[in-house]
């Protein structure tokens, strides 16, 4: 058979072309290109949005295709951010410390430099020693490896425990939510070794690039995020295209049936859960240097639920739906909460969107769930007149066996 998954799914090349056009347009309009039609802060917003799109693709893979409503993927996202943040913070502090110690009559020992860095970084939590988790922070390659390894390993261990004991459906959602809560509560402690609720900050200053203006660094990160999204999208499209895609969609629709076909369902779920956890971690590692700061609140369960909301509004079970949902909702949210949206004067009461945006989001989300389960992506079906008859999700689901419901 001559066709590859790229030609078989028309949406993938279309998406890649759209993304390329976006990158080109944004680059031409950015400050380094001379036009400056797009401000550096908006460029950062766009770059961050691309990272959110990437994690949404991962979410779609795990929820839209495999039917696991994970409320923990933003925790993997945050962990990725923490991992890269540790190196950024360590290295930048090291440069500052080295500079300040350079003037001393006696050159500093390595031990003195490390303890000076430690007291700089951990002064806010009343400590001056490096915790064990920072043991690789001095090395960019190792810390980059941790960006993949830490979320991946957490997803692997958690997924193994959860899937092994056949926790499914809403139980699994709640369990992932509990995991996220436990992680964020742990990070909130001052002795977690990651600066408690202060989190890691100053991440937008990339060590060694202090000579470059933020506008250039932002553009680089925008390109990097776009590249990561493109690669992530292609990878996800490849995963769902072949028999693997058939099997995971089968798991989503009727897990028991797939099991009776002889497929080790737990292994498939674990694979998808771990791979998407890693993708989320990479997305986070690209996101937080653009955001500049990460703290445990970013890992709170609510963030992961928002992720599910983006995917649902965009339309799950199709990768471009997840991207559209994440981009649309997060940009609109920025617009509304940033105070740019015009107030609506009702005479007796003025609706200020800063206060009412969440209500609008909540209500519209409920409406989308009930009235348009296909989300924004469903509009494309109308356009192409493609009929999708069935629902995209475990319906009666794993909570009640089909035979029990008879």
């Amino acid at each position: 058979m001559g066709d590859t998954f790229l030609t078989r799914r028309r949406s993938t090349p279309i998406f890649l072309i759209c993304l390329a056009v976006l990158v080109l347009v944004v680059t031409l309009m950015s400050e380094p290109a001379g036009t400056g039609a797009i401000s550096t802060s908006f460029l950062k917003t766009l770059g961050k949005t691309l990272c959110l799109c990437l994690v949404a693709v991962a979410m779609d893979l795990v929820w839209g295709y495999t039917g696991i409503l994970s409320l923990g993927h933003m925790a993997f996202f945050g962990l990725g951010g923490y991992m890269i943040g540790m190196w950024l913070m360590y290295e930048r502090t090291r440069l500052i410390v080295a500079e300040s110690l350079a003037g001393a009559p006696i050159p500093p020992t390595d031990g003195e430099i490390v303890s000076a860095i430690a007291s700089q970084i951990f002064g806010v939590v009343g400590s001056s020693d490096f915790p064990l988790v920072w043991m690789f922070a001095h090395s960019l390659p190792l810390q980059l490896a941790l960006v993949v390894a830490v979320p991946g390993l957490l997803a692997l261990v958690f997924g193994w425990l959860a899937f092994r004991s056949r926790v499914t459906g809403v139980y699994l959602s709640i369990l992932t939510q509990a995991m996220t809560l436990a992680l964020s509560l742990y990070l909130f402690q001052n002795d977690s070794g990651l600066r408690g609720n202060n989190g890691l900050s100053g991440l937008q200053n990339i060590p060694g690039l202090s000579g470059l203006p933020q506008s250039v660094i932002s553009l680089w990160f925008f390109w990097g995020s776009a590249l990561a999204l493109a690669l992530g999208y292609i990878f996800a499209a490849w995963i769902v295209s072949g028999k693997f895609g058939s099997v995971i969609r089968g798991i989503r629709d009727d897990e028991a049936r797939v099991r009776f076909l002889g497929y080790p369902v737990e292994g498939f779920k674990l694979f998808v859960f771990t791979v998407t956890g890693i993708i989320a971690g990479i997305a986070g590692a690209l996101y937080y240097p653009q955001a500049g700061i990460i703290n445990p609140a970013e890992l709170a369960p609510i963030a992961s639920i928002y992720l599910a909301v983006w995917v649902a509004i965009g339309g799950r079970g199709r990768l471009y739906g997840a991207v559209i949902g994440a981009a649309f909702v997060s940009l609109v949210s920025t617009w509304f909460t940033g105070g740019q949206a015009p107030d609506i004067d009702l005479g007796v009461y003025t609706i200020q969107w800063v206060d009412w945006w969440l209500i609008l989001l909540g209500v519209s989300f409920v409406l989308v769930t009930i009235l348009a389960p296909q989300g924004i992506g469903g509009l494309f079906d109308l356009a192409t007149r493609r009929r999708r008859k069935t629902s995209t999700g475990p319906d009666a689901g794993s909570l009640r066996a089909p035979e029990a419901a008879e």
């Binding site: 058979m1 995963i239 072949g242 028999k243 693997f244 058939s246 099997v247 969609r249 089968g250 629709d253 009727d254 028991a256 049936r257 797939v258 099991r259 009776f260 076909l261 002889g262 497929y263 080790p264 369902v265 292994g267 498939f268 674990l270 694979f271 999708r388 008859k389 069935t390 995209t392 089909p402 035979e403 008879e406």
Partner: protein, 246 residues
């Protein structure tokens, strides 16, 4: 002749209710067997036990020439060992095409990584088309299986069962909701399948069972009430009592 499947002294109870009570059952490598019994006789639970969905409280389930115990294996391991199952209600993957459904069932390595890198060869595609022809769905091969009629879904499921190339097929009420013509076709399919592997058919419909023309096991209240040819069991006073007495 060694048996393919030997169920011996199996009991299981749910909250005090004995669904299966000291059940013993065996079937040879290429045998067609019908299992009948009134509602609540334990037919579906029996299948659940063999396929690993339900773990019995006591008893043993031995499989194949080497007498491996199925009780220690998971559902997917049992399925890979060669036990195929068709559910009472047709369960096919409705938002995937007939081709994808059959391809998924095709006997191949089932691990996540080999599945990930699997791309169908032309022999595989031919095999799937051949199967589709056998179950009379050659024309529907690219349609979503959700769009098929009830009977076609039943056939698709039997086709998926055949694609698995199992050594034992457990078929739960294959003819339910079928027109007489469709039943005929189903009977042929099952009979043909029984030439290469063991087939256990659970059915209510006596006419259908009679048409299969095979040994019949009658279940009642979780254990075997009678076993033998259809004429033998239908003349058994106990069976008559159970079916007609109350």
């Amino acid at each position: 002749m060694t048996q393919l499947l030997e169920v011996d002294g199996v009991s299981v109870s749910f909250d005090g209710f004995k669904a299966i009570n000291n059940l013993s059952f065996s079937i040879g490598p290429a045998e067609l067997r019908a299992v009948i019994g009134p509602n609540g006789a334990g037919k579906t639970t029996f299948m659940d036990i063999v396929t690993g969905k339900t773990k019995p409280d006591s008893g043993s389930v031995l499989w194949g020439a080497r007498n491996r115990s199925l009780l220690k294996m998971s559902e997917s391991q049992i399925a890979r060992a060669g036990v195929g199952r068709k559910f009472q209600r047709p369960t096919v993957f409705e938002d995937q095409s007939v081709f994808a459904n059959l391809l998924m069932a095709l006997k191949k390595t089932r691990g996540p990584f080999s599945v990930l890198f699997y791309r169908p060869s032309s022999e595989d595609a031919d095999k799937v088309r051949e199967l589709a022809g056998q179950i009379g769905l050659a024309a529907q091969i690219d349609r979503l299986s959700g769009e098929l009629s009830h009977g076609q879904k039943q056939w698709l499921e039997i086709g998926m069962l055949l694609a698995q190339e199992p050594r034992l097929m457990l078929v739960d009420e294959p003819a339910a909701g079928m027109t007489p013509a469709e039943r005929e076709h189903t009977t042929d399919l099952l009979k043909r399948a029984a030439s290469s592997c063991a087939v256990v058919v659970v059915e209510h419909d006596m006419d259908f069972v009679r048409r299969l023309g095979c040994r019949v096991t009658v279940l009642h209240e979780g254990s075997v009430l009678a076993e033998g040819s259809i004429d033998h069991v239908t003349s058994d006073p106990q069976v008559i009592d159970v079916y007609l007495g109350r």
